[in-house]
Symmetry: C2
Subunit: 393 residues, 2 copies
């Protein structure tokens, strides 16, 4: 899979991780318009602090993104900021642009200052390997506990030609609404203002990255970056309603990446697609979906393929959403398990069959209003514990 | 250990669980003044609904408590209420009191109607085995995935004699502030009004059952019942400031039970005592402590004895508590790990030693105010997954 017009990429080994490529470089030789979403964690990592400020100063222009795995450079104070700045300076010289047009992102262990000399020493190799076919190498160099690269693409009509949206991401642990410890880079050849890109990215993220949960933790390093090279040939998009085909393609790519992330949640073997309806407000619908999606009891039952719907409703019951128990209904796939707050008569093997699927579709109707919310979560099994009980060793 | 004066108890097999005693009976032959705390889950179980109403109608008088394990009788609609009522009627006849003086509690699988015939058939045996030394049998008959009975006692000066407080509890899964799926029964020979008992129980619960978390789930069946036989011989306690020695003994018993519960969290091998200080408000201190206590990443790191403090602060960062990262400090035991938002220079083996303890003491100072909160949580290891992935099978 090639990159959209106007982009080059590469992935190399900087030596932060022991045995894997850990430095990705994305370059738009003629620059790109950019929009980004960052973590809301109160401990934003050094690259998040710097990139947010740089993007504001460059007014949404990015020439290159430098992404490392193996070290989050979060909660590292002034030394962390200085280390990230040194990487930025070096990258700006290597690519030939102002430092404010360098975008930084990091993922890995928290509390360790980025070994920036390793990154700086590896930058020349990263620059020399830049190519239009560098997507795969870049997509591999940002991974941590992911089991494999996550890449998605879509096309859309852009003036007389076909425009492209190509994205790659890393996820695995700490995935959660508000985008915790997830990095995603989405490249397109569309021409658009940074403001338009920001609105389109928000819309796409709400339907994708914000609708998944792996473990309820949200990280210090979350970043989604959207870059538009403008090489597609269509009109420059600016007004809110413009570019519906581009926006659909963008949402499609973000949704595909988000689903790959939740399916590749640490140790995940199965996902639950939670659909809450009949809530009094969108906020309460989200509260209910969130309580189910983050319940360790629900997630371990899901790991075992156990149709233990009592745990699902117990989570809804403590979520803070208001409803009358007598009006609540619950279905798994086409099987109605609870109607008017009472269990139905169903055959246990029928329920077990649905809970053994790769995707377990759960619909909860609170019977209290018209608001709804959807959230996809993964199971919590032994592999999650194994991966996280000794992640650093 | 004998029961306080004025109480008898027994534990028998009703056949709800396969191989274990599953029916406990507590009787105060001359009645007792009572106060209870119930779950706040919006799906309260049938015994919770009935006991809350009965306690209001009897104005805080209880003659007997009937407790079963193996079936929660929650989310069971009208059939569940009818089943619980039949148990109550039969118990009232067996003990010789109005039905409103029978207190019911259940624990076990959600969504299954109580097999009330089994309970009713076992009640005569439970009555015939009542004795002042029935505490151990009763404490065993309420367990589910607990590894053993949880009993605590304390004495206090009551007039010229020694008064006693004796409690027993079950916990294990779904333990959380707001007391999820935990049953606790505390018996005392003090003489006190139901209003006084309610206030004393709230005070004790805030410092005990509400300060522990196993997995963030809160159940449909949580109940703490305090019964006072008045056989101790002291003055009847009524006003708020009275009985400080009794209240201290009550809090001591509740704290001991709560600590037993969190240490016996499903599959738990280690606990973390989280102490948040310097928050802008008590609410924000609790938010921060809660985020740490329920973080799967923190809990799995705890299982591995991994001093991965970055996960602790990442959880604080997403908790909603407001602070400046530059003012945050973090210690484990006597070891300062973060000062002014920056990692200190410490020897990794020193940190590892503290995180390998049975109790890992963590202090987080947000540097933003004077409010504080404490919470005790347990680790999340393979045994939690094993127990919960196939609990019903």
């Amino acid at each position: 899979l090639n990159l959209p017009r106007g982009f080059l990429a590469s992935g190399v080994r900087a030596g932060i991780r022991k045995r894997f490529p850990d430095l990705a470089l994305i370059v738009a030789p003629d620059g790109a318009d950019a929009a980004a979403l960052f973590t809301r964690n109160r401990f934003p990592a050094a690259p998040v602090i710097l990139s947010r400020a740089a993007l504001a100063r460059s007014r949404g222009r990015v020439r290159a993104a430098v992404v490392n795995a193996g070290c989050a450079n979060a909660i590292t104070g002034a030394p962390g900021i200085l280390a990230a700045r040194r990487v930025r300076e070096k990258a700006a010289r290597a690519v030939g642009c102002p430092p404010d047009e360098i975008f930084l992102a990091s993922t890995g262990v928290i509390g360790v200052v980025l070994p920036d000399a390793k990154v700086r020493n590896a930058l020349p190799a990263a620059v020399s390997r830049l190519s239009a076919s560098g997507l795969e190498a870049a997509s591999r160099a940002i991974l941590t506990t992911d089991t494999g690269p996550k890449v998605a693409s879509a096309v859309f009509r852009d003036g007389g030609r076909l425009g492209r949206v190509v994205g790659f991401a890393k996820g695995a642990g700490m995935i959660h609404p508000d985008m915790a410890t997830m990095l995603a880079f989405v490249l397109t050849d569309v021409s658009a203002t940074p403001e338009f890109l920001k609105a389109a990215l928000r819309e796409a993220a709400d339907a994708s990255f914000h609708a998944i949960s792996v473990d309820g933790d949200t990280s210090t390093n979350d970043t989604v970056l959207l870059l538009a090279s403008g090489k597609g040939g269509g009109e420059r998009l600016g007004a809110a309603r413009e570019g519906p085909e581009f926006r659909r393609a963008l949402t499609k790519v973000c949704r595909a990446l988000a689903e790959m992330i939740v399916r590749d949640g640490e140790g995940a073997t199965r996902v639950m697609a939670i659909d809450v309806r009949g809530a009094r407000s969108a906020r309460e619908a989200r509260l209910a979906a969130h309580a189910v999606a983050t319940s360790p009891l629900v997630k371990t039952a899901l790991a075992g393929g156990d149709p233990n719907w009592g745990r699902i409703l117990a989570a809804v019951g403590r979520s803070g959403a208001r409803f009358s128990p007598r009006r609540v209904a619950l279905s798994a796939g086409n099987l109605r398990l609870v109607v008017n707050g009472c269990p139905t008569v169903y055959r246990e093997p029928d329920a077990a069959k649905i809970f053994a699927r790769d995707t377990v579709p759960i619909r909860i109707d609170l019977g209290a209003g018209n608001a709804s919310a959807s959230l996809m979560t993964c199971d919590l099994g032994h592999d999650y514990v194994s991966l996280n009980a000794d992640y650093r060793s």
